[in-house]
């Protein structure tokens, strides 16, 4: 089991109901996409937040990554909706 800090923003944060947490991930979670699928098994709040997986953006150590990116070595993984700044 690997321990990772997860941070959530905007409506992902609101739906999950917390801004950050530290989780132990099973070895089967290899990619960012695996992580999304895993989180959805943890409860309704995660299911609601991550329902449309394809729109969820992932950043590892504060850099954008594709869902196919491996998460090994990640200190911090962020999940959030498409950005609307500017």
């Amino acid at each position: 089991m690997a321990s990772v800090n997860l941070v959530y923003f905007a409506w992902v944060r609101e739906r999950i109901g917390r801004a950050e947490e530290t989780l132990e991930l099973p070895e089967s979670v290899v990619t960012a996409g695996d992580l999304l699928a895993y989180l959805k098994t943890l409860g309704e709040e995660y299911e609601a937040a991550l329902e449309h997986e394809n729109v969820i953006r992932v950043a590892i150590n504060q850099e954008h990554v594709d869902h196919g990116e491996k998460i090994a070595g990640a200190r911090e993984i962020a999940l959030f909706p498409p950005m609307t700044g500017g």
């Binding site: 923003f9 409506w11 950043a59 962020a78 498409p82 950005m83 609307t84 700044g85 500017g86």
Partner: protein, 155 residues
């Protein structure tokens, strides 16, 4: 690109357009063009009372810096500044400032335009609307046209 100054700040308070331009161009005699872009909060014909801007501290600064550095490398920029606010912002108030300097006018225009297009689609900020009538506002949806604006730079 020696001497190219990239300045990025993410802050709650307002920024000072003139001070940012002065900081970027002071004492230089080689700049031919300075372009600034200010994005402001619109009241949407009176229906909006405020925007609440959430951001990802650390990554916001890092991502905007990456965008500015790419603009400097891609265009003929002598300097680039970007300041993005977060927190509650009222109609008429500033949200974001971009300043670019170049020997040539089109590069300064393109640099600022490029930075704004990527800032909109890649910098980790999210806007929530507060409705003037007190009804529940909502998160602003990302626009396809913003993705299109970004994608034209890779055509």
């Amino acid at each position: 690109m020696i001497g190219v100054a990239v300045t990025v700040r993410v802050q709650r308070g307002d920024f000072d357009l003139a001070a940012e331009v002065a900081a970027l161009s002071a004492g230089r005699h080689d700049i031919g063009a300075v372009v600034t872009f200010c994005g402001l909060c619109r009241d949407e014909a009176g229906t909006l009372s405020a925007l609440e801007l959430e951001h990802y501290p650390g990554m916001a600064e890092a991502e905007i810096t990456r965008i500015c550095n790419e603009a400097v490398a891609r265009f003929d920029l002598q300097a680039a500044t970007a300041v993005h606010r977060y927190g509650k912002i009222l109609p008429g108030e500033n949200i974001v400032l971009v300043v670019t300097a170049s020997p040539h006018r089109q590069a300064a225009f393109d640099g600022a335009n490029f930075i704004m297009d990527f800032l909109k689609t890649a910098a980790p900020f999210w806007k929530k609307e507060h409705a003037a009538d007190g009804s529940a506002g909502g998160w602003v949806s990302a626009k396809d046209e913003d993705d299109s604006a970004r994608d034209r730079w890779s055509e």
